[in-house]
Structures are given as structure tokens and as C-alpha cells.
Amino acid sequence: MHLADGELPHDYLGYTYQKVLFILGGIGILFVLLIVSIAVGAVSIPPVEVIMTLIGQNVTDKWDRIIWNIRLPQALTAIVAGAGLSVAGVAMQSILRNPLASPFTLGISNAGAFGAAVAVIIFGTGLMTSTTAGAVVINNPYLTTITAFAFCMLATVVIIAIAKIKASSPEVVVLAGVALSSLFTAGVMFLQYFADDTQLAAVVHWTFGDVGRAGWPELTLMAVITIAACIYFIANRWNYNAMDAGDETARALGVNVERLRNAGMVVAALVTSVLVSFLGVIGFVGLVCPHMVRRIIGDEQRYLIPGSIVMGAVLLLASDTVARLIVAPYVLPVAILTAFMGAPIFIYLLLRGHHR
């Protein structure tokens, strides 16, 4: 064979090895963060005891309950949501060929907020009660979640239909997403205008994305869908590389670009819908984490996709940990903190330029 005289490219393998190290380093940081996140809070638990409890050693019953019932599900939800939003973001940026694309570009989060507003205001699922934390409670979370999810899916179906009709042109999809976002925002404002104080507070509260809302059953569902989506995108990493090289090049490399786009949009929209309807709107992670990783290890999808998954998990878990501590004993919803945490790092990375 005429190209058989090649050697193993050690320079290139060394270069890719650095990217692998970056991802492994991220996973290491994630584990440390997980322990720290569980250790800190209103009740401090020493990290060693956290690890002991996690591996099944009963240290004290009280710590056992705090860890297994409250802090571990919340920390794992942050990891799952960060990973899911980030992988959806990196995929949408390729699919729509647009650096501003994120899971919310298609109007999905606003559709979810509209769904929640419909549930709270029209179906009357919102209720303000004075609990010790002074929190707003949504008295029928399942109905609210299901309605939010239904509207997320409605937005997804509309976008996919538009993409089909206009033969999957990325620009059309982005613009349709922006239009849909505005439409649902207007819908939320319309409903809010007629809402009473309690309902208004409930709707606003719902839209603050919060990873503390999910218990083990919700977490399990979100984790299954997020892991499936991560596997799907990683399995398609070569196809995404091909798509990034241009539609014609991708087709010439044997990739069915239209099908890849549509399937990718469905998977990304599904992950986003599930996360948004359980947790509320968590912005920034899906948009910015992929770009942080691009700045550090480049656009090659073999490393970009896993890198973004890890980066999203790290950023959301770190934000949630800080959100629980920053105005203790009050606990802030993580959505407020993600941009506070991420924006300075992101701007620094933008100014610094690409890693050489």
C-alpha cells in the first residue's frame, strides 16, 4: 500500500496527550470539589468523614442523613446538570455553526419558564408559605415540571419542524430560536401581568435555577438522560469534526449532515428540557463552558466534548458550593452564581487568547 511507510507521529501524540491530561486533571478537580462541597455548609463535616460515609462507613447517623439525603444529591445534581448543559452547548455550537449557540438558543429555557408560569398561574400550583427559610413553595412540583417539560418539547418540535421545512439551514434555526424565545418571554410577561403576588413570586422563584430542588428519583432520571446524551455526542465526535470542516467536506467524508444535525438537535433539546423542567433556568454554563475548553485545548471534538462535560460539571458544582456559603445561612439558587463565577474566568480566557 502506497502510504504504508508512515511512522507513528510522536510529536502529535505528545500534543494530544496534553489534552488528555487536561481532561483527567478536570476529573480530579471534580472529585476534590465533590468532597469539599459535601463537607461544607451549615454543619461542617470533616472531609475524611465525608469519604468514610460515602464509601459506606457509618460515622454518625446525623452526618449520614445530611450527606445521603441533602448534600450528595444536590452535589450530584450540580454535576449532572453542568455536564448536561455543557454537552448540549458544545453540540449546539457545532450544529448551528454559531459560537453564541447554547442549549437556550432554541428558546427552550423560555418555553420551560412559560410552561411553569402556565402551571403556577393558570393551574394554580404556586403557593407561598412561610417556612423557616422564608421560601416560596410550589405545592404541586410534578404538575409544574410536567407542564414546563411539555412546553420545552413544544418549542423543540417547532424548531425541528422549521429546520425540516427550510432544509436545516443553521441560520434559519438560530433566528427561529430567537423568535421563539421572545414569544415565550412575552407569554410569561403576559401571564405575570395578571398574576397575584403569590403566583408572581412562585413563577420568579421557579425561574431561578436551583440544583437543590431535585431528590434522588429526579436526579436518577436526569442522570440517565444526561449520560445517554454524553455517550451519543462522544460516539459522534468524528462526525462533529467532519461537520465543523464544512457541510460539503462532511458529506464527502460520508457523513449524513442533515440527519446528524436533526438528531443532535433532538438530543440536545431533550437534555435541556429535562434539566430546565426539574431545576429551572440555569444560564451561562451551556454557552461558556465549551468556549473555556476551546480556549484551552482547541476545537478538536475528540477532546472538546469530554472536556466540556467535565468543565460544565466543575463550574456548576463550584458555583453551587459557593452559592450555599456566600450569604450563609441563606442558600442562593445556583443560577445567580454561575455567571458571577464564570464570567471573570471567561473574560480572562478571551483576553488571553488561545493557549499555545
Partner: protein
């Protein structure tokens, strides 16, 4: 016969772009598709590997109609280099490695890495291995794009205006390289071109497209002054320089921007008479 096209017809929104296209190509040949802008050169090229799907007609590669082959199988037989190459934060090696896509299952193997390594040596672009695409020049990007199509190990390579955006040195280097791989690897190359002189020097056969169809198809002997004027609507003269045929368009300027009445009198007359006919 490595590629044959029969009764190909392509419509874009019910407008006929190509009609009744038929030709065939043997291995080891470079075929240039020539013709004025907008005549469908790129469309024809894209119909050859199903980037565009023709309304009618059959394109066969190595005896098999491509409509019967899967996308991946087509990609193993036909490589394609578009006119414009997308860049990104990728190294040259990453970009060329992508050309192995039709051959890889879950992930690349050592064999793929070795083939890409060999391609870099063959193309003499070892210095671009770890360069980023978004920092490369047009000529370097074109070399990377051709190398990517080359590591697909295709039987046929389709190139869409491979040299139209390049300077003289890059044009010569890239076309020499293409000639070289056609000879060494017995593949066939089909490329669209604008520059008749470059086409004359590097191609073996020529397809002139005009009015949605093939005006003429054949070897060097079909390139005559009358043929070129018929296709492009510009009177030309063909001379020889160092034994190489050169096509020069006749125009009102002689090189310093000033018209030379005496020398060009006959052209002026010719143009005027044509203009008269057109406006009558």
C-alpha cells in the same frame, strides 16, 4: 474506466442546471471542467459524489452506480476538496486525520496515524503538522484540504477550483503535487478551473460546459480559438511559448493600459459588429 456519467440531469427548484451530461474517465487522468461562471461546473462536480443528488442519470464509480452505495462507501472511493476550507482551532494533523473518517470505526488506529504521517511527508508539509488551521495561509490550507482528501485513499479526487485563490508559486506547487499523485497512485482527478493556461498545462482531458450541457469533451486538440470563443464569448489567440500552448484573450489594451488603435483595429471591428448584432 473508473468513472462514468450517463444522461445526468440536475434541477434546482425546477430550473434545469445541467442536462444530458455524459462522459467517462480512466485512471491516471486529470480532467478539467471548464466554462464560464455560473454554468454549473461546481454543481457537476458535486453530482459526482452525491453531495448533490441529480434528478436523472447514473454516475458509476468502478462499475457501481453511486446511488446504490452507502455514503461511507462513496467516501472511500471519491475524495472531494471544496473551494473554501473552514478553519478552526485544529492542528494540521487533526485536520488531515479527519480524512480517515470513512475508514474508522469507533476510533482511529495506529494504521490511520501512520497513513496521515506518510501523507505529510509525501506532500512535504511536515512543518504544518502542529500548526493551527486558523493561523495558516490560503495555500497551506489548500494543501491540508488536499491531503485530507488524499488520506481517504480515494480512486477519484474531485477538486473545486484548487488554485483560483492562490499565488503563482502555490498554484504551480499544488498542481505539480496533484500531477505527481495521479501518476504515482493511478487515481483520477476531476477539477473545475478558470485559468485555461493552467488547465492546458496540467490536464489530460477537457470538458467545456455551455448552456447546461457539455459543449465539447476531449483531449488537448479540442482547445481551439473558435471553441474558446464559442464557450466564453471572448475572442482569443493561441500561441506557443517554449512549446507550451498559451491562450491570450484579445482585448483593447496592449499591456500598458493604452489602446493601440492600429494593432487592435480588427478586434474593435469584430466587437462592434457583434454589438450591432446584439442590439439590433
Amino acid at each position: 474506466m473508473i468513472l462514468s456519467v450517463d444522461e445526468l440531469q440536475f434541477l434546482y427548484r425546477n430550473t434545469k442546471i445541467l442536462d444530458d451530461i455524459a462522459f467517462s474517465i480512466s485512471e491516471g487522468e486529470i480532467v478539467a471542467i471548464l466554462g464560464p461562471n455560473g454554468v454549473g461546473k461546481t454543481t457537476l462536480l458535486k453530482c459526482l459524489n452525491r453531495i448533490l443528488v441529480p434528478r436523472e442519470g447514473v454516475v458509476s464509480v468502478c462499475g457501481d452506480p453511486i446511488a446504490s452505495l452507502g455514503l461511507m462507501e462513496v467516501a472511500r472511493r471519491i475524495g472531494y476538496v471544496p473551494q473554501r476550507v473552514e478553519t478552526g482551532r485544529l492542528t494540521g494533523f487533526d485536520a488531515v486525520l479527519l480524512g480517515r473518517r470513512p475508514h474508522i470505526g469507533w476510533d482511529i488506529t495506529e494504521k490511520d496515524l501512520r497513513i496521515v504521517d506518510a501523507a505529510f511527508k509525501k506532500f512535504m508539509i511536515d512543518h504544518l503538522r502542529l500548526h493551527y488551521l486558523d493561523e495558516m495561509s490560503g495555500g497551506e490550507l489548500q494543501l491540508i484540504a488536499i491531503a485530507r482528501a488524499f488520506v481517504q485513499e480515494p480512486k477519484i479526487l474531485l477538486l473545486d477550483e484548487p488554485t483560483s485563490a492562490l499565488d503563482l508559486k502555490n498554484q504551480v506547487e499544488i498542481l505539480d503535487l496533484i500531477r505527481n499523485i495521479v501518476t504515482d497512485h493511478r487515481i483520477a482527478v476531476v477539477m473545475t478551473m478558470h485559468d485555461l493556461n493552467t488547465a492546458l498545462r496540467y490536464a489530460d482531458r477537457f470538458i467545456f460546459l455551455k448552456d447546461q450541457s457539455i459543449h465539447t469533451y476531449g483531449d488537448r486538440s479540442i482547445i481551439t480559438e473558435n471553441e474558446i470563443e464559442a464557450v466564453y464569448g471572448v475572442p482569443v489567440q493561441i500561441g506557443e511559448l517554449w512549446g507550451v500552448p498559451c491562450v491570450i484573450p484579445q482585448c483593447l489594451c496592449n499591456g500598458n493600459g493604452k489602446s493601440k488603435e492600429e494593432e487592435n483595429q480588427h478586434i474593435v471591428q469584430k466587437r462592434e459588429s457583434r454589438a450591432y448584432v446584439r442590439y439590433r
